[in-house]
Amino acid sequence: MKMRTLFAAGMLTSGILAAQPGAAEDLTLEFVVWNYSLETIQDNVKQFEAANPGIKVKVTDYTWPDYQDSLVLRFRGDTPTDVIYGGQDWLPAWGAAGFIAPLDAVAPAATVDELKKDIAGFALTDVTYKDKVYGLPYYADTISFIYNKKILADAGIAVPATWDEVTAAAQKLKAGGMEHPIVYEYNQELPNFYDAFVAQAYGRGAELFDKDLNPLFADPNNEAFKQLQWIADAYSKDLVQSETHESKIIPAMNTGAHAFTIVYTYVLAALNNKADQPRAGEFALAPMPGSTHATLGFAKSYVVTAKAAADPARGEAAWKFVNFMAGKPYTVAKRWAVEKGLGFGQLPLFADKDVIDAWGKWADVKALGDQAAIAKAGTYTEYSSVWSAYFRPLLAKAMVGEASVEQTMKDGAERWNQLKEQFANR
């Protein structure tokens, strides 16, 4: 009797489980991100899961400085990873290593081509490797020269338009008692440490590489060479205070003890956030000093791994997720723009009233648009992230006078050529 009861209970339990195929067939995507605004990411994921029953998304986050290394470890260690945040500087290397897949491999035919039409030029360049689109923009932004309007107005200083004028303004402020008028994000472990340098060089009209990818920056007449000399000069005149991360630049600028900084444009939104910054409203962006005022534009993106793409069900789910996060109607990209001030690569959002209203609270939207229009993409190859990891400490040493600008640029160019040759002969 007891056995029969147990058997009946077992059958009933099996029947109940079989009647709930949704729970049994849930596919869980492993989504790996850096930890910027994790609560917003989680909320976006929750909305995706609600809209796509049967697909769950597990978010794993790393700090920004550790992100690239951690991803390489995951790839090398075969840790399950389906969708990731991609960076423009790592994308060619990861593509060449076979870690990531072009979106064509997982998206329905012609979908990616249709979405490409809406992506800004520099952002499209940054998500493309060997003519194939590997990601859709999570955000696309520029690096900006930011200044404190009030400090400059009080001191009777015009907004500097060249780097020499920045030096003159900083020296005048220092003479007036400001110890370090410039705050610089100085952290050789951050990829954007090199990007910020490139952005400044672009402001001068620099070309760091020719069309055959030969380095040009070791020439003393190259504007990038001159910009490194400018930074070293500013440090030697004790005009600069180093901070290791933008999160420290925001409170530092809000002490009123500094007038200039060079950071990602979205940092301006945080600087001018009236909710938690005492000097909100005092900060504005100016065109990047120099003769062309160009700057670096870049895109971070949602990328599908090769492993996910190799499994049809997983690849399809990964595409659904990427399309939800960065595809039409661009709801998530708009959310990042409105709530966090992140830039975007999807051009239609520039005409979105909600975005214009939100951005108008912390920036001159026209100035932002003008800057985006002349922003240039960086030069990224399969070996550029390896080279950047080598070159950044050299840059850091030259900035603080521990190495000569000439030797730094020479060493950087030599290493670039070595890697280029090595890669060509692989």
Partner: protein, 292 residues
């Protein structure tokens, strides 16, 4: 007759095999990697002999990283032992609240390296840092001292933070050694000799000498292979001012995708560590390493 004393090696195998697998295999694989070109971007893993070692030793960073690691080790290890011994001698006394003080002294031990790094970043921060604030309040400085961004000061700053994290372990071991000294010996010494310094030199020190040698060896190795605290505080910078060899293993492997060179640096670190151990134990002989 069946006895467990027969075939001792056989009985030890179940315990030895997993240990051997988990140590010998990774070390052997790392050594194999160091002799091959294992770069993420390039297909194949050809044998390159000692090329990785040569490239690493000739690289821009190696001289800086080796010098920094040695300076870091030669500053940190003795400081930990000296402060650890002084604090242990102090805490051995009974006084009001001594139990509370003992617990507080152990606090840095339980903090992960990354948390300690955050604490020390805020101590050394140029604008908001406790240290600059204190110095300004005491009117010793007018401006701010760039503790972590000046190449000259950054290494000193990370040594201070590292020493702080390592002192509790030294205190615990020295206190254990002190408690093992025969109390009658100490009482007799207190009667015979009024100088505390002489009592330490002739009575206490010989008794804890072995522990001190162990601590110096341990701290030299800890400092020489230190990674997390320094990485979190300075990222090896500014420039290469705080780049240590252990950090260079990571950089070569995961930032430059060159696992062959990363493994070569790792084996260089192992070789130097072995030299350090032999050097310290020969310079500071103690019966701990004597052959009966």
């Amino acid at each position: 007759m069946w006895t467990i004393k027969r075939f001792p090696a056989l009985w030890l195998l179940p315990a030895l095999l997993p240990v051997a697998l988990m140590t010998i295999y990774p070390v052997a694989h790392a050594f194999w990697t160091s002799l091959h070109s294992v770069m993420l971007l390039f297909p194949g893993e050809p044998f390159v002999g000692l090329d990785n070692y040569e490239r690493v030793v000739r690289s821009n960073y190696f001289q800086d990283a080796l010098r920094n690691s040695l300076v870091f080790t030669f500053l940190a290890a003795p400081l930990v032992v000296v402060f650890g011994t002084l604090i242990a001698l102090f805490l051995q006394r009974r006084f009001f609240g001594s139990q509370v003080v003992r617990s507080i002294v152990l606090l840095p031990w339980v903090l992960p390296g990354a948390i300690s790094a955050v604490l020390w970043i805020w101590v050394f921060h140029p604008s908001f840092g406790v240290l600059n604030g204190l110095l300004r309040d005491l009117h010793l400085i007018d401006g701010s001292i760039p503790w972590l961004t000046s190449p000259r000061l950054a290494l000193v700053s990370v040594v201070v933070a590292h020493v702080w994290t390592q002192i509790p372990f030294a205190v615990v071991l020295i206190m254990a050694a002190l408690s093992a000294i025969n109390s009658e010996t100490l009482e007799a010494a207190a009667i015979d000799c009024r100088s505390a310094l002489k009592r330490f030199r002739y009575i206490v020190f010989p008794e804890i000498r072995s522990m001190i040698v162990v601590l110096i060896v341990y701290n030299a190795l800890t400092a020489f292979t230190s990674y997390d605290l320094v990485y979190a505080m300075t990222g090896g910078g500014p420039g290469t001012a705080t780049t240590l060899l252990s950090f260079q293993i990571w950089r070569e492997s995961f930032s430059m995708y060159d696992f062959g060179s990363g493994s070569a640096v790792a084996f260089i670190v192992v070789a130097i560590s072995a030299v350090l151990i032999v050097g310290i134990t020969r310079a500071l002989p103690s019966d701990l390493f004597a052959e009966q």
